[in-house]
Symmetry: C2
Subunit: 502 residues, 2 copies
Amino acid sequence: MENYKEGFKRFLEYQLELKNISDASGVLYWDLSTIMPPKGVERRSEVIGYLSQMLFKIETSEEYGNLIYALYEHFDEMDDREKAMIKNAKKSLDFMRKIPEKEYLEYSTLVAGAETYWADARAKNDYEAFKPILEKIVNFNKKIAGYIGYEDTPYDALLDLYEPGATVKELDSVFKELRDGLVSLLSKIKESGVEIDNGILKGDYAIEPQKKYNIELAKRLGYDFERGAIAESAHPFSTNFGNNDVRITTAYSKEDPVTAMYSTIHETGHAIYEQNIPDDLTRTNIGGGVSMGIHESQSRFYENIVGRGKQFIEGEYPKLIEAFDGLKAYNAEELYRAINKVEPSLIRIDADELTYSLHIIIRYELEKMLINGDVNFDELPKLWAEKYTEYLGITPESFAEGVLQDVHWAGGMIGYFPSYALGNLYGAQMLYKGILRDLPNYDELIRSGQISEITKWLAANVHKYGGTYEPKVLIEKITGETLNAKYFLQYLNEKYSKIYNF
Amino acid sequence: MENYKEGFKRFLEYQLELKNISDASGVLYWDLSTIMPPKGVERRSEVIGYLSQMLFKIETSEEYGNLIYALYEHFDEMDDREKAMIKNAKKSLDFMRKIPEKEYLEYSTLVAGAETYWADARAKNDYEAFKPILEKIVNFNKKIAGYIGYEDTPYDALLDLYEPGATVKELDSVFKELRDGLVSLLSKIKESGVEIDNGILKGDYAIEPQKKYNIELAKRLGYDFERGAIAESAHPFSTNFGNNDVRITTAYSKEDPVTAMYSTIHETGHAIYEQNIPDDLTRTNIGGGVSMGIHESQSRFYENIVGRGKQFIEGEYPKLIEAFDGLKAYNAEELYRAINKVEPSLIRIDADELTYSLHIIIRYELEKMLINGDVNFDELPKLWAEKYTEYLGITPESFAEGVLQDVHWAGGMIGYFPSYALGNLYGAQMLYKGILRDLPNYDELIRSGQISEITKWLAANVHKYGGTYEPKVLIEKITGETLNAKYFLQYLNEKYSKIYNF
């Protein structure tokens, strides 16, 4: 290839074709999770499987492969966007070419069935039933790491699938600082003697007014309903089919309108990221959030830093008590404290803002050990329990509330968990080094409901790049610093020392 | 091909592949009509367009074509299902091969854009704006009829696209009998002097209770929610992705719960047909209702013969007044009469059971003239108005309530309208010659809410065949007679002579 521009045009056509198929699959998944009748599942799997095969066929075709490798030789001549696109395409291509098709198929079949076994094992609190499957999945991931290749340690290869550029070396250091800081904060909170009653958030709340409130709330955060929709699903998620059709789901409970509220804020954070992807990227493989970690930084920023912040709750208070009559009995300060109660718990998805990252660090430490063969599968639940006792001061009494609680491993997603904690770190670092620098009236903007100003900042500094810059590059571009735990710990210390008087 | 069985296996694989793509498209359409945000439309069109291209590519491939033609040579050796499958496939293949690709593309583009022009023209009551597009669409349909080929008259070729085997010769005779019978019944009703007030059905009815009522109603009719779902859309429709995922939509109005109720019954009739398709047909090209006319016979049977029948309304009465408080002021007889008020109207979709078919016959007569070149496009609105005056005794005063009222012509669907009237005829003929013969306690079954017994009969006599038998064959199989208008007229006469005392 003399000049790569012609080849790049052909590559963009391929991108659009792949995007067409994956958007179609995305709608099929959305439909499956929100409205599909239960007995539709078998046929739906066939259709989704067919579309996956089509994707696989295109990506493993001789012509596509040759094009990517030919273009890659011109990497240095490309602009940043082109580089990112070709790098992503090559990464995905390498992945499929390095793993023998037979093994890949075997693994896909294993993972496709594993969720059912896991759900069953969790329901029956039967670790032994899931253990052999977990062992197979971990062993496959070891092999996959070997096929992909790595410099230092196999877990790096897996990490890179979800958080490009992240390494064990870096995470070990950042997560150690984070873990020690969190354990220390937690002990201060315990010693403070301050007791918070978050039972005041519970009551009897009809679903329809909750739906109405959550729609208005998402609008106030800057979510565009001309390009979005909210539906209900068992587990809340966000998804998109290009930047003009970005959706979220919420799960409502009659006892508790606050969980749905923060779930909506969280998913809206993801969705606003996707709605702000520029038009000229949306049909490419960098036309979305760059990584799981940066995505979580957006959702967690809206959910925790903004949404669980004092200014937001004060600003939202009149609307909250109008929508939820039972909350009228408490003032904004009482609600703020109840919403931010810190309490070590066994279940990750129920964890508060402060202890949440400790759940992640436990999984990170165990995943590394599993991949390195430093723990055997019989001892895993014991080790899990010990880490909970050590970091959180509580000990699971069942597998269901211990090692069997998450679906991720059943889904083959080893290396995914760190993204959640990285999201917390990125968010705080952006806040301290970016947002407060550029918007010194941040508190006032939030209190007065001008959250769109914050959203604009995120759009201009994060969203507009789509997948152009790897997390490492992006975070340095915004903050001038590499990732570290100090800002998140500083943020938590400032917030919780006031709530818990230490 | 020595033995066709091997080739047929390959053909079934193709069927599944085509079904996978069309089911994916179907879900994309459903999503578009029920929840997609407005700005998602451009991207959605791209994705649907891509899937259509894929279908086209497979169906026009050398290998597929050769297979179909090779299999067709073994037609006489096949069983009924195989015959129907190969006949359908060949019909679709011939269609695509006979029409030059360039013209087909030109026509597709024209039709894709026409709906917007039509909606705009209707909103502005501007026939002149739509006339040139209508002319182009009609001329294309003339050409298409020529390419497809016909024995007697070009309109036969178009009819056959929607109602396989139907001909002008047959419809001319049946529709004449029907038209004369309806006009005569209508004049008896007018002369009866009986006045019915259907304003009693209007009121102020919240949407949520309507939703709840319609779900329960669909269940009572035999619609299986394990394999179905109801959503809202601007225009009600039913769709399916195999027999285990068959859905309907309803449009609710706060003024009028009865329209939504009968819309639900109508769509449920379509849906029950699709839910009852046997498992071994559902992944093939005969895995659905056989024709538009037979489909309408099911929906109209549930909606009108069952749903607007006296027994049904009496049986439903307690539930109706429980759901809709405002109806309590009237007894079942009063509601029955209000629901069955006959009143000539200008808009087809608002027409009552008796006058509805006259709207269809007018369109049928005009379509034939358009295709035969017996009317020019300037005169069309005048001719439309004259026919309304002649058959229904009322005259449209605008294009919007005349020739511009239906979307069908803008969608290129010339030859489709007759299906609606055929549905009425098939339904009544089945009732008189099949259901009453096999279920002499029909009235009692309906009154006591055992509609599932009727559904079982339909499943065993109609639904189980899927697309195996053409309408002509099917109706003879069930009733021992060819299609005629006498049973529908007899049914109407028995019903309306009691309501209008003639």
